[in-house]
């Protein structure tokens, strides 16, 4: 066994432990300290138990194992009713979870976790256990000792006055697989002293405090009652190591061989009551989950997406070539191509969906954030989330967490008032924070809404003036709200450690824009603020409209195109001689000529002969002048930075059906800087 390299299982263990910790946190947050749900307590215990089992298995993660061990003992005492759950315990458990997480991260980085933090949390947990021991039931006192479980088990056994002779469980006609499960169950009920399987039967000698009826109840999940015979008799003289080897056989494929003995043979907490749900043992729980999903590296998925993208391009190329063929003669070929197109599209869609993850992944971390911040700031806040099942590209999901955390912090700190202020304003003292996600066309809209005081127009204007940002008194509200996105802007009266340093909102906006999205703010004094983040569903595929300027083809992102028209002479006005605006239904839109922005020769110079595409970027609208509209495509986005660099006015590139490269226009850049000439930027590069 020593020859087996356990380190190859580390990653699996880390991933599983991560999941279990997240699960534990969620359960702890849901837990009602006054009336804890026994099922939830069990689930929390199981999570702690699984982590401990895994950590102890490897032998290299002692601190993690020890911390979880202490946590597990406490949880065990609570769920057995030996110890009353208090609200402050939940806080300590949450803190323990954080420590466990950091220990896990440290081990993952092949480092030793922080000794001081470890000592402290262990002391806190021991303290808790001792406190309880002072006025709790006798067996719980043992849990204060970080020693082996057996010490906890023994006094309990003698206290309940069970016969000193071990319990012998004999089961007839049992398959090898069932025998394994039964052995595991026995391990959960007490200490298995010896076991042997002969001619289809299984005999187990165990030291347990469970009553015969309890053991029966557990076994009946696997075998019928008449197959079962339970007595008290001495175990045959056998080496204790036998037990270990028996368990090796029972070990799951993931768990390394000599490990299960400490975890599975442990007399878990089942001493008090039979637990039907124990049919799913703690160790089995993560394994069950894995049967329905597989863990795959992101790069593998990305590779598939790239290949499928190539396939779609090749297919488009074939279709284009085949379109010149006589449909009567090449009937079968064309039919085949049509089918290929359908299949390629379906394949592309399903591959894309692999990358999609539910927003739950993001939302699930906020109850904790809100809980911690609210208690820190003495506010009462209720968090509501909607659209947890809404799916978003994995790369976006990961990048949205920081901006959202920032917005939530802002809402809690500046938005929602303290309970007394809220009562004074005739509001419910409990503030409400709502987070929602929903699909909206080709976009996902994520909203953070609070029912707090709203943005303070006067204060923003005053602050802007202090910082020398050009403002006017009669700016519309929307423009005033945009000011808070200016770098270094903060209206907080005092800087707290939560927010107020003013490095926030501009970073939030930049992050969102980097993801191809934008942020909108709406606010009403006294009623609250809503921040709306609009993001594309995925970065990998884009609905585009191809347009022609001179001999060049560009792609406009379709979700920014609102309409297109051929301008007439009387719709075009000049401003300051050089600039032109387009008058459309009472609105004057700046006219951006593509051929000027991108220095295209031999393009249509006469606007009345060209096509104006009305584009919408954030709240700005402008008319983009192109020669022709070519068509609408779904294009695979390829970034230019991989081998080249960022190009002004261009967000990315794509490969067209004929294999040529077309550039995707950066609508935001065009909207922001339609008067600025790109060429000036290029000149600085040249010189």
């Amino acid at each position: 066994m020593s020859g087996l390299d356990l380190s190859q299982f580390y990653e699996t263990f880390f991933d599983e432990a991560d999941e279990l910790l997240a699960q534990m946190e969620q359960l702890l947050l849901e837990l009602d300290a006054q009336a804890p749900d026994i099922e939830q307590l069990n689930a929390i215990f199981r999570a702690a138990h699984s982590i401990k089992g895994g950590a102890a298995t490897f032998g290299t993660f002692q601190k993690l194992a020890e911390t979880t061990h202490l946590l597990e003992n406490l949880l065990d005492a609570i769920r057995r009713g030996d110890m009353a759950l208090r609200a402050d315990m939940v806080d300590i458990f949450l803190e323990t979870k954080d420590v466990l997480k950091s220990q896990l991260d440290a081990y993952r980085a092949s480092e030793e976790p922080d000794e001081a933090v470890y000592e402290r949390i262990c002391a806190v947990l021991r303290q808790l256990a001792e406190e309880d021991g002072a006025h709790g039931a006798a067996p719980a006192a043992a849990s204060a000792a970080p020693a082996r479980e057996e010490t906890m088990h023994m006094p309990a056994a003698s206290a309940t006055g069970t016969s000193d002779k071990p319990t012998c469980v004999r089961i007839r006609d049992v398959s090898g697989k069932d025998a394994q499960s039964l052995l595991e169950e026995m391990g959960n009920l007490g200490t298995v002293l010896h076991s042997e399987s002969k001619s289809g039967g299984l005999s187990v000698w165990m030291q347990t405090t469970c009553s015969v009826a309890d053991i029966e109840a557990v076994c009946c999940f696997i075998v019928d009652a008449d197959q079962l015979r339970i007595t008290h008799e001495a175990a045959p003289a056998s080496a204790a190591s036998d037990v270990v080897s028996q368990f090796e056989a029972a070990a799951s494929s993931f768990t390394p061989p000599d490990a299960p003995a400490p975890s599975a043979a442990r007399p878990a907490g089942n001493v008090a009551a039979p637990r039907p749900q124990k049919a799913a043992t703690p160790a089995a729980a993560p394994a069950d989950k894995e049967s329905t999903s597989i863990r795959v590296g992101v790069e593998k998925v990305d590779q598939i997406i790239n290949l499928v993208g190539e396939l779609v391009i090749t297919q488009a190329m074939l279709t284009q070539t085949a379109s010149t063929l006589d449909p009567v003669v090449h009937d079968r070929l064309l039919n085949g191509l049509e089918q290929l197109e359908r299949n390629a599209r379906d394949l592309q869609e399903s591959v894309m969906s692999i990358r999609m993850m539910p927003m739950d992944y993001v939302f699930s971390r906020f109850p904790r954030v809100v809980r911690d911040l609210a208690s820190k700031m003495g506010k009462q806040i209720e968090l509501e989330t909607h659209g947890r099942a809404t799916e978003l590209d994995k790369s976006l999901i990961e990048r949205i967490i920081d901006p959202l955390t920032h917005l939530v912090r802002n809402s809690l700190d500046h938005g929602i008032e303290t309970p007394d202020k809220r009562i004074a304003a005739d509001k419910d003292p409990v503030g409400k924070l709502t987070m929602s996600a929903q699909h909206h066309g080709g976009n996902i809209v994520i909203q953070v809404t609070d029912d707090g005081a709203g943005l303070n127009r006067e204060r923003i204007l005053k602050k802007a003036m202090e910082q020398g940002i050009p403002i006017s008194e009669n700016m519309p509200d929307e423009e005033v709200w945009q000011l808070i996105f200016a770098p270094g802007f903060s209206t907080a009266e005092k800087i707290t450690d939560v927010s107020g340093r003013g490095v926030g909102m501009d970073v939030v906006r930049r992050n969102i824009q980097d993801m191809g999205g934008h942020v909108q703010l709406s606010s009403r004094t006294g009623q609250g603020t809503t921040t709306r983040i609009v993001l594309p569903l995925t970065l990998a595929i884009l609905d585009g409209m191809s347009v022609r300027v001179g001999v060049e083809t560009f792609i406009l992102p379709l979700n920014h195109v609102t309409e297109s028209m051929q301008p007439t002479e009387d719709q075009i006005y000049t401003v300051a001689g050089d600039e032109r605006v387009l008058h459309v239904r009472g609105e004057y839109l700046p006219l951006v000529e593509m051929h000027r922005a991108f220095a295209v020769g031999d393009a249509q110079q006469d606007p009345t002969q060209a096509i104006a595409v009305i584009m919408q970027a954030e709240d700005k609208r402008f008319a983009l002048l192109v020669d022709h509209l070519v068509g609408q495509h779904q294009v695979v986005v390829k970034n230019l930075e991989a081998n080249y660099r960022k190009v002004p006015g261009i967000s990315a590139a794509t490969i067209m059906g004929d294999g040529s490269v077309a550039l995707i226009v950066d609508v935001f850049a065009l909207a922001r800087a339609n008067r600025e000439k790109w060429s000036s930027a290029a000149e600085t590069v040249l010189n």
Binding site: E310, K638, N643, Y644, R645, K646, V647, A682
Partner: protein
């Protein structure tokens, strides 16, 4: 055109480096063969122009699904005559995880040069900074200008790579 340069007649010696020799106008240049990924014919139709970039950047092209920038070294080195003929080829380079294509007038040889055949380069003018030269190579009566292509292509003046601080 996509013939592997390694199969060329190579004078194998114990020491020294292999260089891919290409022509720019009348001049012969050599670059480290290990930086070369492949050689392709130049097809202006599949190179997409990028607006507002230095003229030596011809644009980007699709190399089996990868977007690759194409640099015309003849424009960069101020060689008067820039023609696109049958002989014009693109050398696809693989430089520190980036793929870049360079347009040259033709590829002639893969040669092995040992240290004795490489002379330090004298100071030149502005066009080709000595910084990017590894030396001048001599084979019979031919002179090869040996270029540290990686250093040159990733330099600021090529504007191919995003400047870190920019």
């Amino acid at each position: 055109m996509a013939a592997s340069p390694r199969t060329d007649t190579t004078r194998v010696e114990d020491t020294g480096h292999e260089f891919l020799v290409f022509a720019l106008g009348e001049e012969e240049y050599g670059i480290d063969i290990l930086k070369v990924q492949e050689i392709r014919g130049y097809d202006a139709d599949v190179v997409t122009r990028i607006a507002n970039v230095p003229p030596f950047i011809k644009g980007v092209t699709n190399l089996r699904g990868i977007i690759v920038p194409i640099v015309d070294l003849r424009i960069k080195f101020n060689l008067g005559k820039v023609e696109y003929t049958e002989q014009t080829v693109v050398i696809i380079l693989n430089l520190s995880n980036r793929v870049v294509g360079i347009v040259v007038d033709g590829v002639s040889d893969v040669l092995m040069l040992n240290a004795a055949q490489i002379r330090p380069a004298p100071e030149f003018g502005q066009t080709l900074s000595t910084e990017y030269l590894t030396g001048l190579g001599t084979i019979d009566d031919r002179m090869l200008i040996l270029v540290d292509i990686e250093k040159m292509m990733t330099s600021d003046e090529m504007a191919l790579v995003e400047k870190v601080a920019a």
